[in-house]
Symmetry: C2
Subunit: 211 residues, 2 copies
């Protein structure tokens, strides 16, 4: 865009900033959905379960907004190299974020339908996993907004720790259910939580590719 007047370049930069801003806003909402869904399951907090499905409409609208703006920038600005790869990453990340939000809503809805687990289930690997997934989600969005490849690599490497916590949680859950069949319904429903894990991973991967 070197031959165009300065004000056009500035407007173009503003558009790219706006696109990053939309995905950052999506990320913030999805982080909130995830936090509330986790609170609904782990702390049996009924209030917390209400928000994630409510935020879905806003997240969906932001995904459409990101897609429309990306298409507009691609059509009118013909971005090159780094900018083009950023736009492609943003398109993929917005889809990933939307789906993480979907999972969070689904977890929150399930959490409201079931009885709390009794004290025999510690929740500690699940809590640790939830904390790590949230931290990774937050860092992945920061890495995208600040175009920070070091941060993206940190998130990428943190995947192994999440996998290990998942295995620990899964084993505890199976043992818990085998001890008393009455626990099955809640435990199976609660087990949907780890579904956020691979989705978080996908968001991280796109950020990493971009950086």
């Amino acid at each position: 865009m070197g031959n165009e007047p300065a004000h056009t370049v500035t407007r173009y930069d503003q558009e790219l900033d706006r696109l990053r801003g939309i995905v950052a806003r999506m990320g913030g909402l999805v982080e909130r959905q995830t936090a509330q869904a986790i609170a609904a399951v782990v702390d049996q907090d009924e209030e917390a379960a209400i928000e994630p499905p409510e935020l879905d409409t806003e997240v969906d609208a932001l995904e459409r907004e990101a897609e429309m703006l990306a298409i507009r920038i691609l059509a009118l600005r013909a971005p090159m190299a780094v900018d083009l790869r950023m736009i492609v990453a943003v398109l993929k990340m917005s889809g990933d974020l939307e789906r993480i939000g979907d999972y969070a809503s689904s977890i929150a809805r399930r959490a409201m339908k079931v009885e709390p687990l009794d004290g025999a289930f510690s929740f500690s690997p699940l809590r640790a996993m939830a904390r790590l997934v949230q931290e990774n989600l937050h860092k992945a969005i920061e890495a995208m907004v600040e175009n920070d490849s070091t941060r993206a690599m940190e998130v990428w490497n943190a995947d192994t720790a999440v996998d290990e916590l998942y295995t620990a949680m899964f084993r505890e859950l199976v043992t818990y259910m085998m001890e008393d069949p009455q626990r099955v319904y809640y435990a199976v429903t609660g087990n949907m939580l780890p579904a956020v894990r691979p989705r978080g991973g996908a968001a991280r991967k796109d950020t990493h590719k971009e950086s």
Copy 2:
């Protein structure tokens, strides 16, 4: 691109066809991964469980190839309107397909680790659900390749039927486990299968948006 010589336009069309072709090939592989994963769980077919993880490398490579070609077309051809929306849809769909393949591999790996379920579990809602998810996946890819919005709408509408089968399967599974705690390990592992459902839905949504 109306002012360019005819041979350039043809090459551009060929590039778009190649892009669609890559995603169609991805779709074919992911369909195969899904079919084999389902056979591994439902028919307890150990042979079938081997292929899905093996195909992952190829699916990942195709996703990267699609992304690189899309970026190339965007940078060199500055596609407009319909073509641009197709490219954006292809970028999102390739990510969805890659993740459906990931889930299929994960299901296949789990299926190999556990003992078969006894005769008390009918598998019929799971079979029906698997058939429908596969049919939808196939139709969604066809809709993308042929740019057929009627077909995309059919897939979109079929979502309710998949949800109903999921609920039926989930209830049967919980009852099955409550009858005998020894069944918990297999049943919880088998329950990962429905994870393909929302992913299939996402692929459908992108096709629909595109059409």
